[in-house]
């Protein structure tokens, strides 16, 4: 019986794990085949209001690099070597023709590299809309919400042009509903991770969540619902492991092997992996002007990341709250190589944790790294130092 229960969960998990590692985007291709005349719209990390794309009946696809599964051969001749890996391999996805199914590609001004990507993309992949969705950088400006609302309207008009059909308010509300449901399910997934990490590992939660970046959210909701139904039936014994928060996966994603090796020694009880999917922390109102509701939620019902400055959300305090809320004992402070915002923030986090005497381990990573022996030793030593302190 136990074996059967476990395989039910694994039957859900396994295709998600495969999708997570597959840079040929099979689920997007299947969607396009089954939707003749349909359109797929790509966007870069961290946050994009996918509801706009969804409401147009199009498929949103998150581009987040390609890990070690794609060498940035052509991209390297177009951008500098001092650029983070996620930007280089995302560009390589374009050069290698792997994302030729996209009708448009959006970036946001999260950092100099990401916003620059729209220009490079447009120059090299002609015939595809390549634009910046301008998320206001002054989160504390009185006009930030109305300005963003109008920017969403601008993007919506472009999406209408691509899809060739008007997008009504009712379409947007329906999409907001689907995404609210998705965010609720993801919060539930994270609750399991936090409360019973022995029943759901971070790697598992991660691939389950990531599947949503390459398929319609209704399908993803279905997957999450089935997975959540199975989790309580899983077998797993609580172990005496250190509970840690993993911070630093907001944009470039760490390799799965890295997460796994941390999990061999600790429970990761909260993290900022794929934070864009969970950026909005409460339901977006399904009444009133939907664009305004989305814009307001971006600022007012949202979590934090080092690519947003908001005086109301000092990042080190937000991290402390995350640590406290998850009952973590320690923090893994990771940062992607060549990532200016991440590396700058790492120092601030480090100083705060030192002052609060919360143990932490600094780890630099690259999505394409394949050798982990040194990291494994660092993690083990770190965990031992906490256990035997």
């Amino acid at each position: 019986m136990a074996v059967q229960v476990r395989s039910a969960f694994e039957a859900i998990l396994s295709p998600c794990s495969e999708l997570s590692e597959d840079v040929t985007y099979p689920s997007v291709k299947r969607w396009r085949e089954s939707h003749p005349g349909g359109h797929a719209i790509g966007h870069f990390q961290v946050y994009f209001p996918e509801e706009l794309i969804h409401a147009a009946g199009m498929l949103p696809v998150t581009l987040m690099g390609a890990g070690s599964r794609l060498e940035a051969k052509q991209a390297d001749s177009h951008i500098g070597s001092f650029i983070c890996s996620i930007c280089r391999t995302s560009l390589e996805l374009g050069f290698s023709g792997r994302v030729g199914f996209l009708d448009a590609f959006y970036t946001t001004p999260i950092c100099d590299v990401a916003r620059n990507l729209a220009g490079i993309w447009g120059r090299n992949f002609k015939g595809m809309t390549a634009e910046i969705l301008y998320l206001p950088q002054n989160a504390n400006a009185k006009q930030a919400v109305p300005y963003l609302r109008d920017e969403y309207a601008r993007v919506l008009a472009e999406l209408e042009r691509i899809s060739g059909r008007p997008i009504e308010e009712a379409d947007l509300r329906r999409s907001i509903g689907v995404y609210n449901e998705n965010r609720r399910l993801l919060r539930e997934l994270y609750r399991y991770k936090r409360e019973t990490p022995w029943l759901l590992s971070t790697t598992e939660a991660y691939v389950l969540a990531k599947a949503g970046t390459v398929m319609p959210r209704e399908d993803h909701n279905e997957i999450l619902r089935s997975a959540l139904a199975e989790i309580p039936n899983r077998e797993g014994r609580r172990q005496d492991r250190v509970r840690v928060v993993f911070e630093g996966g907001f944009c470039e994603q760490p390799p799965l092997d890295m997460l796994q090796l941390i999990e061999e020694a600790c429970y990761i009880v909260d993290d900022d992996l794929l934070i864009g999917m969970r950026w909005i922390t409460d339901d977006v109102p399904e009444t009133g002007d939907p664009l305004y509701a989305l814009a307001e939620s971006y600022f007012e019902r949202s979590t934090y990341s080092c690519v947003q400055h908001d005086d109301r959300k000092p990042k080190e305090e937000m991290l402390l709250r995350r640590v406290e809320a998850s009952g973590a004992q320690a923090v893994i402070l990771a940062a992607a190589k060549m990532c200016e915002p991440g590396l700058d923030e790492q120092v601030a986090y480090q100083k705060t944790l030192e002052a609060k005497r919360i143990p932490f381990l600094l780890l630099d990573f690259e999505e394409k790294m394949t050798a982990f022996e040194r990291m494994r030793m660092e993690v083990e030593t770190f965990v031992e130092s906490i256990l035997f302190d």
Binding site: A118, G122, K315, P341, L343, D344, Q346
Partner: protein, 358 residues
């Protein structure tokens, strides 16, 4: 002295090279003022060369500190390494922007810059011209608890995207920027305890108008053969004055005199080297830690930088010869911030749209 009057006749030897001499003197005086402000604890604003909002800040008599210029000066004076090492020992990665780290090292060292002491920030204004600005100001916010103001100037969204004043998009952007300027003014009132006087802002805008008109004329004069100045070498001095003295009578006068010098050189056919064989257009900044050698590398071959993108984006966009409408100061400032700010940003991110025109 009013700049509209002809400057007093000078001997030729005094006129040629005056821009550089005066520029260096003004630069020293500016650092001396900062040193005095550090001593007296006077309110100071940290700003960036691209979108400094100097017109507003100077209406409150705030001393302006340009951290990028501080870092650049450390590089030119070959002392950056010491500061970089301090910042890296503190925790900053080797991958982080060198300007940020040199600055952090200087702050950790008690704000002792080789050009003088630097006052603490009372307020810092970061535009979005470079996203690193925003990360940089967070560092000072943590160090000093100073007020941080992110002045957001929305930029070009894609290749070929442009908006003209009067269009719906431009007006929407303008309203957003203008309302932030109003909030910036409120912040300055709170920080300095001084009331806002619109006439002060209008005066500052008028100074910039004169400065911009002369600066754009100076740039055009370099189309002559031989070019009267080297856009990388001399341009750096001119740009320092453009930033530090933006919105002041001194800055406007300096630029009028510079124009006079350049016109004089053009009349006499004076260039910067014996034989100008190649005329170069610079894209991106120079290598400041080996600045002299960098320049010689080209001069030795008879090559002169006759223009540089740097003069456009790091010169606060004044190359366009912008003119504020001082009768509607805030609205006009918002418009020009958008036009020049976009030019600076697009220059970096969508350079293909602009390089072809230069």
């Amino acid at each position: 002295m009013s700049v509209t009057q002809a400057p007093a006749p000078q001997k030729e030897g005094e006129l040629v090279g005056r821009g550089r001499r005066d520029g260096n003197r003004l630069f020293k005086e500016w650092y001396a003022e900062l040193d005095a402000a550090a001593e007296g604890g006077d309110p100071s604003a940290y700003v960036f060369v691209m979108g400094s909002a100097a017109e507003v800040l100077k209406a409150f008599d705030l001393n302006l500190v340009f951290p990028e210029i501080n870092s650049l000066q450390m590089a030119v004076r070959k002392v950056s390494l010491e500061y970089l090492n301090k910042a890296e020992d503190y925790g900053y990665s080797t991958d982080v922007c060198g300007y940020v780290k040199a600055d952090v090292g200087m702050h950790l060292d008690g704000r002792k810059h080789p050009n003088g002491r630097i006052p603490k920030p009372s307020i810092v204004v970061a535009t979005n011209m470079c996203n690193t600005y925003v990360k940089w100001v967070e560092i000072w916010q943590r160090m000093y608890g100073c007020k941080v103001f992110v002045l957001d100037i929305p930029g070009q969204r894609g290749i070929g995207w442009s908006t003209e004043p009067g269009s719906e998009q431009f007006e929407n952007d303008r309203r957003y920027v203008q309302s932030q300027l109003e909030e910036l003014i409120e912040a300055c009132v709170a920080v300095t305890g001084k009331p806002f006087k619109i006439e002060r802002l209008q005066e500052n805008l008028a100074h910039v108008n004169r400065m911009a008109a002369d600066w754009s004329a100076v740039l055009k004069l370099n189309q002559n053969i031989p070019a009267p100045f080297n856009a990388m070498a001399d341009g750096l001095t001119y740009m320092g004055v453009l930033s530090a003295y933006r919105g002041t009578e001194t800055g406007a006068r300096y630029m009028a005199e510079l124009r006079e010098e350049m016109e004089h050189k053009v009349r006499l056919g004076l260039g910067t080297i014996a034989e100008e064989r190649f005329r170069l257009h610079g894209v991106g900044p120079a290598c400041y830690s080996y600045f002299r050698r960098f320049l010689e590398l080209f001069q030795d071959w008879g090559a002169v930088y006759v223009n540089s993108e740097y003069l456009a984006y790091a010169g606060g966009g004044l190359d366009l010869g912008i003119q504020f409408d001082v009768e509607r100061p805030l609205e006009s400032l918002a418009e020009q911030l958008l036009i020049t700010g976009r030019r600076s940003m697009s220059n970096m991110f969508f350079s293909q749209d602009q390089l072809a025109d230069t």
